[in-house]
């Protein structure tokens, strides 16, 4: 990025790539991004952001998120598997140490992993370059040791960045970032080196926004996903991401309506249901290089 400029210079306008049809002639690529996270109960303080809203332990905050790793991961994952949706996992890589059972379950389902930092309670703001390199190298090393996979993407921990984050992940050979929200299509990202692309993730249909920004019911959220899908399926070359947190979508009152939304998308016929890496590969294979 151009540090200090009003426009950080991340990408060109408008989207520069040709319209693309996805494999099988599908009009919209759909990927599901479960966030498999570990939040520390008593993390050290960051000078710019509090980890919890209450003095530690924030019992509701911590235990709500712990629900993912005891209960709702399996509920969410079973519904995804049943309807043919692989996960592209936004992973707090320390989950590989704390609850390897969750990571192994996701790996056994054939899911792809990218890094969401070490913990979702450790923020990247103000890191020195060598510190940010350390969390990238830790991510690559930890996921490889735990799953054999080489991470290809990055969603910054708790969406915290530095001006050099995108350059660094590109330098380490990562293919995609989930941190930019400027388009419904893949867009090249301007970095010093490498070949980084922005893949649409989503704030707006993220279950966290659905339930805690827009205060939707489970049924309202499922209807929102269907509307999002219907519009994007009518705009060829689009990407729809469904970003999830098991402790939210996997609550017993929400999972049933969510399953109906997945059924709708799976049955529609216009969706290429894929992982983030597969979508990036198809886009790179189809693009016209300048």
């Amino acid at each position: 990025m151009i540090e200090g400029a009003g426009d950080p210079g991340l990408y060109d306008w408008p989207s520069q790539h040709a319209q693309l049809t996805w494999p099988g002639g599908k009009s919209v690529a759909v990927w599901v991004a479960p966030n498999l996270e570990y939040y520390e109960i008593d993390p050290p303080a960051h000078p710019r952001r509090k980890a919890w809203g209450r003095p530690h332990p924030d019992v509701v905050g911590f235990s709500h998120r712990d629900h993912s790793n005891r209960v709702s991961h399996w509920r969410m994952a079973d519904v995804m598997t049943k309807h043919g949706f692989p996960g592209s996992v936004s992973l707090s890589v320390a989950l590989c140490q704390h609850h390897p059972e969750v990571v192994q379950d996701a790996a056994a389902r054939g899911w792809e992993f990218f890094s969401h930092g070490i913990y979702n309670t450790r923020y990247a703001y103000d890191m020195a370059e060598e510190q940010e390199r350390a969390i990238i190298e830790d991510s690559i090393r930890t996921v490889r040791a735990s799953t054999g996979q080489s991470i290809r993407g990055w969603l910054a921990p708790a969406l915290t960045h530095t001006p050099r984050t995108l350059d660094l992940i590109a330098e380490y050979g990562l293919d995609y970032t989930c941190d930019l929200y400027h388009d419904d299509k893949l867009v090249p990202v301007k970095t010093k080196t490498g070949d980084l692309v922005s893949i649409p993730y989503s704030l707006e249909v993220n279950d966290h926004y659905g339930f805690f920004v827009y205060n939707m019911s489970g049924r309202d959220y499922a209807e929102t996903l269907i509307r999002q899908y219907e519009r994007l399926a009518a705009e060829p070359g689009s990407v729809m991401c469904i970003p999830l947190h098991a402790y939210l979508i996997g609550q017993p009152h929400r999972i049933g309506p969510f399953e109906q939304a997945l059924k709708h998308i799976a049955a529609d016929g216009r969706a290429w249901i894929a992982t983030a890496g597969e979508i990036v590969d198809a886009w790179k294979a189809g693009r016209t290089l300048p």
């Binding site: 003095p55 530690h56 019992v59 709500h64 320390a94 939707m216 049924r219 009152h253």
Partner: protein
Amino acid sequence: MSLDPAYLEYPRRRQGYDHDLYAWSALHQRPPLKWPHGSVAVWVCVSLEWFPIIPSDTPFRAPGHMQTAYPDFRHYTARDYGNRVGVGRMLDALGAAGAPASFATNAAVAERYPELLGAVQAGGHEVIAHSTDMNGTIDASLPVEAERTLITEARDRLAACGVQPDGWLSIARSQSFNTPDLLVEAGYRYACDWVNDELPYRFRNGLINMPLNHELSDRQIIAVQQQSADSWAQSQEDAFDWLAAEAAASGGARMLPIHVTPYIMGLPYRIAAFERLLARLAARPECWFACAGRIVDAFVGQEIK
């Protein structure tokens, strides 16, 4: 620009949790539980709260507490409406459905409204301790001696009213790191604060945690998310349907906690949604209406030692 090097050290990065309060366990991989009746325990928990008109911010002001400059007649009376009127509608609804419930009761409510306490007991319901009054909040900023005094005072004041609960619910489910040990020391068998599970489980110190889903509470869905009572009831039924299906598929048991507040759900325009929900659940063969203590009993009877 650089962070303190300690910020990139992870001394508790290890298998299991970064705390020692309880062990990890995955619900879907545990041996199945069985209830005495049905496969989904429906645990209605009613909070009985008295908010002093002079609020305390130490350690924090409870949700629902006073909001205007003193004297906040508006919130003092609107909250007390729950104890005078709303709870009566809930007791009638529970009675009509044949649903024994838990009443998480401030000691001050038991002292101030003995007729209400009597009606709860006469209805076959259970009292669990819910601090002294709505100024009796707990978090890590409360000195341990003050927390110990608060917990034992709530116990002793309820005992003086003739009830000796074996369960505890903290205000806003907020604990300190000392709370689980202080609750065991005060003789409690279970607490309802940690929302990380959907069945009872045991802390390392012996305390049983009864997860009381906060996301399904009337406070969250109606007061915070500002949905209708009908939407709240629909969410409960969607949850019940899912849990009943999971119980059937696994050959095990599930639990649906329904946490309600008389000044929220007991209003005239909302109570019918509560009544209809209870009636619909009562008609389901999978439904076992049970208070927390009976669910804990069933869990303890099947615990693998």
